[in-house]
């Protein structure tokens, strides 16, 4: 199963990057969302799947699934939420101010 989840993470990355390489800002934001999902699944498989019980200490059980990736992912989920919301507002403001959400039109090369 780890094998399949790894491939799933790869597909999420591939589609995420494909979205990021587009011109419209909404697509780029969707791309970052896909990439963060891919990264979370990727980290999760590093700790082996479905081995042992959920990491909540219970009498009589010694074999737990790896808690460390879960702690990392938990942090990451919250951070990626912060980032997504920030770039959403940023995109909305940028589009409103410049009347375009096309990245190619937003580039500033004239002051170089």
């Amino acid at each position: 199963m780890e094998f399949i989840i790894c491939i799933l993470a790869g597909i999420l990355f591939a589609t995420g990057i494909y979205n990021i390489l587009q011109k419209q800002m909404l697509r780029i934001i969707i791309g970052t969302g896909l990439i963060s999902h891919g990264a979370h699944l990727f980290i999760l498989t590093m700790g082996k799947l479905k081995q042992g019980k959920p990491p909540i200490l219970t009498e009589g059980i010694t074999d737990y699934t790896d808690p460390l990736p879960q702690a990392l992912i938990l942090t990451s989920i919250v951070i990626s939420f912060g980032i997504t919301s920030l770039i959403l507002v940023l995109a909305y403001r940028t589009a409103q101010k410049n009347d375009t959400d096309n990245m190619e039109e937003l580039r500033g090369t004239e002051n170089e």
Partner: protein
């Protein structure tokens, strides 16, 4: 000793504070104390009972980089020059620099240089030496560019830095090679293992690297071109850095490593040839100049060439004469620069064509210049130190190793003639300088100011140096015994004590001196008739043009290259970055044979999981096709909730809960803003662009999958999770291990995570507020 080196640097921190008082007390008065104290500290070591001092302070012992200082005769001579001339220069600058100038900056740079230069001459550790060496280049850059509103100052500063730092880097290469071969970072340690370095196959490379460092710093042909442009610096700086101390760092370097290289034939050939060439070229070009400081700059180049040549000869006499000339040159050239500064200050010009007949207006200045120029010319008088070292130089050219045959032999046979030729022009420019300024016709109309005698303070420092010229001239042997012989001994490794006399009888060197005086007089008197030759040779040939061409083309080429990839399109940057990562990682994996996939010990596949995965795959692919805002957002939500489901199955209840909550909020947020965002359009990319995007994204996904699968079965060490499971209850006092990790074990991480969220919230708030303000206006 380390305190003496760091004292100027520490003092530099207080200079900006003292500079605030500059309207009441000139900042230079405070600064003057520092070199004076250092001079007194080092002067205690002068004398016949000199002993070598070593001092060690650890810095980075694991890399062999330590503050190891070694005070031998050579270092002592340089340390005295740095602090002694430094004190005189600061004294002179008090009168030279007006209080309206940025005095704080000037003295900070000067003190920085003092520390750097003392560090160069006292360090025994090659890497510390290199650090200080580059610091001298930087402080020289800052001082040359001191009047940065002038275009020429900026040009000169940049030029000197590019050339000397290029040389410094080259020297660094040589130092690294030597420290690797000899297995030590100490210079004295390398000298002890000289035979290992001499036997090494890298010897030619080491010598080349080291000599480029020395030649660029000491303005040897063809790297001399930076020194005339460095004359844009304030005159005290020219007198200090660009004649007495910094430009001698290259000579110091050659002298310091002399015990290693002197056995090597090419060292003798290259150093003596470059030195003598620089001597001739510098003195020939000096006669052409019209700016007083330019004459002095070329004269410095030529004198440095002479010292370099003597080190190249490598005989006992030559080494002795070289060291003697380092001291003598510092005295007469330092005083001449100060005199030139005084003339500039009082008449408003340094152009020798406008000057003339100043004897009547500036008699004291003229008297000081007389000693300086005549000593520089090497006129045989018993109270001029320049004559002694010049005569020793002639004598050393005559007594070169006669057993050498072949190319080197021919070269050494030519040396006396070249030495005389160079010295004839040295005589010529010295006389040109003195008589051109102080005699001849007084041209009142061409001078910007009416000349008058310089203030006593400006004459004090050159007077002390002239006193040095006379004292060394009258009592040469006391200087020799107390200082020079120790330095010569330190260079050659054997005891050198040469008795210096004024009168030897009619020996060949004396006859050479007389030829120089006779022919030099003819040349300078007939200068107006033959100076047209400069238009033929060198004419328009100049290494300046090479330098300008290199700087211009490097700058043009690099901006051309930069413009190719700095397009301002973030998409292109992403493509470049991702492409480079892809090629780099795949390339490394392939080259090291790292790709191996195995599927042992995996969790079984169930239908539920598989169907969730398939839904997610379809959803993620669909995001790339969706052309409707609402649809795209909802599809992204499918992927998010799918992830939450997987978390449930993979026994991560906390993750599943968080993911569900966050995903809900995210979708809600998207839906809130999507109304304001422009509608998604159909993609209008060409198929070529699409293909590139596709390759990069699929490649990256594949890379990630491969790495993930590979790492499943590679266990390099035991997992650390066991620790958390064991101690969650005893240390954290909780049963939910993930929570304990987040709140107790990695509490700081969580704190910063909250900080990140807070910053994001503030930024969002700011962005929205910004909008409101705009509406109000």
């Amino acid at each position: 000793m380390i305190m003496a080196i760091l004292l100027p640097l520490i003092a530099a921190f207080f200079v900006p504070l003292l500079a605030k008082l500059k309207n009441r007390i000139h900042t230079g008065i405070f600064v003057l104390l520092i070199p004076a104290v250092i001079f007194i500290y080092f002067a205690q070591n002068i004398g016949t009972k000199f002993r070598i001092l070593d001092e060690h302070t650890n810095w980075i012992p694991s890399l062999g980089v330590n503050f190891d200082f070694h005070l031998d005769g050579l270092s002592l001579l340089f340390a005295l020059l740095i602090s002694g001339i430094g004190a005189l220069v600061v004294l002179y600058s008090i009168f030279y620099l007006n209080r309206s100038e940025r005095l704080g900056h000037f003295y900070v740079y000067l003190l920085l240089f003092m520390t750097a230069m003392l560090g160069v001459v006292l360090s025994d550790n090659v890497f510390v030496l290199y650090t200080f060496w580059e610091l001298t280049s930087i402080s020289s850059f800052l001082l040359i560019g001191y009047w940065h509103h002038r275009e020429k100052s900026r040009y000169g500063a940049l030029k000197s830095m590019l050339i000397t730092v290029f040389g410094g880097l080259s020297m660094f290469g040589g130092l690294i090679l030597m420290s690797v071969i000899a297995g030590t970072t100490s210079i004295q340690g390398m000298i002890a293992k000289a035979d290992i370095i001499l036997d090494s196959q890298y010897l030619p490379l080491i010598l080349g690297f080291m000599l480029i460092g020395a030649f660029t710093k000491s303005a040897q042909f063809p790297f001399h071109i930076w020194l005339p442009d460095a004359m844009e610096a304030p005159t005290p700086v020219s007198s200090y850095l660009h004649s007495a101390t910094m430009v001698k760092a290259g000579i110091y370097l050659v002298a310091r490593f002399f015990p290693i290289f002197s056995q090597y034939e090419w060292f003798v050939i290259i150093v003596s040839l470059v030195g003598i060439l620089t001597l001739c070229w510098g003195s020939y070009m000096a006669v052409r100049q019209t700016d007083l400081k330019a004459i002095l700059a070329f004269s410095t180049i030529s004198q440095l060439g002479m010292i370099m040549a003597m080190l190249g000869f490598g005989t006992k006499l030559a080494v002795f004469a070289a060291v003697f000339h380092i001291l003598n040159h510092a005295t007469f050239k330092g005083s001449l620069f100060m005199v030139a500064g005084a003339i500039d200050h009082e008449t408003g010009t340094r152009d020798i064509r406008k000057l003339g007949g100043l004897m009547a207006f500036m008699p004291y200045t003229a008297a000081l210049a007389l000693f300086g120029t005549f000593s520089m010319a090497g006129i045989p008088l018993p109270f001029l130190n320049g004559f002694y070292s010049k005569e020793l130089f002639f004598e050393s050219t005559l007594k070169l190793n006669q057993s050498t045959s072949g190319f080197a032999g021919t070269l050494l046979d030519l040396m006396p003639y070249l030495a005389v030729a160079g010295s004839i022009f040295t005589f010529a420019y010295s006389m040109y300088l003195f008589f051109g300024v102080f005699f001849g016709k007084y041209k009142a109309a061409e001078l910007p100011k009416k000349p008058h005698e310089a203030p006593i303070g400006m004459l004090l420092s050159p007077f002390v140096l002239v006193l040095g010229i006379i004292l060394i001239g009258v009592f040469p042997n006391s200087a020799v015994q107390g200082l020079i012989s120790h330095a010569a001994t330190a260079i050659s490794g054997t005891d050198i004590l040469i008795d210096v006399h004024f009168w030897h009888g009619f020996t060949t060197p004396l006859i050479m001196s007389l030829i120089v005086v006779a022919v030099g007089s003819i040349i300078i008197l007939s200068r107006p008739y033959w100076k047209g030759i400069y238009n033929v040779f060198p004419g328009k040939l100049s290494f300046n043009r090479v330098y300008d061409w290199i700087v211009k083309s490097v700058s043009a080429y690099s901006s051309k290259v930069t413009n190719v990839y700095m397009t301002g399109s973030i998409k292109n940057y992403m493509l470049l970055i991702l492409g480079a990562m892809l090629i780099g990682t795949f390339g490394t994996l392939y080259a090291t044979g790292g790709i191996h996939l195995s599927m042992k010990d995996m969790a079984p596949i169930t239908v539920i999981e598989l169907s969730i995965v398939i839904i997610m795959v379809i959803a993620s692919l669909a995001t790339t096709f969706a052309n409707n805002n609402l649809a795209a957002i909802l599809i992204l939500g499918v992927v998010g909730f799918g992830t939450a489901m997987l978390f449930i199955i993979y026994r991560a209840p906390d993750l599943a809960l968080t993911q569900l909550v966050i995903e809900t909020i995210t979708v809600a947020l998207f839906l809130l803003t999507f109304y304001h965002l422009p509608k998604l359009r159909k993609r209008d990319d060409s198929s070529r662009v699409k293909l590139v995007n596709l390759i990069i994204s699929i490649g990256f996904g594949a890379l990630l999958s491969i790495i993930g699968i590979m790492s499943l079965n590679s266990v390099s060490f035991e997992k650390i999770s066991g620790y958390f499971v064991k101690t969650a209850h005893s240390i954290g006092g909780g049963n939910n291990i993930v929570n304990v990790i987040l709140v107790d074990m990695r509490g700081f991480d969580t704190l910063f995570e909250i900080a990140v969220l807070g910053i994001a919230a503030l930024a969002i708030f700011g962005l929205i507020q910004f909008n409101k303000d705009k509406g109000a206006r």
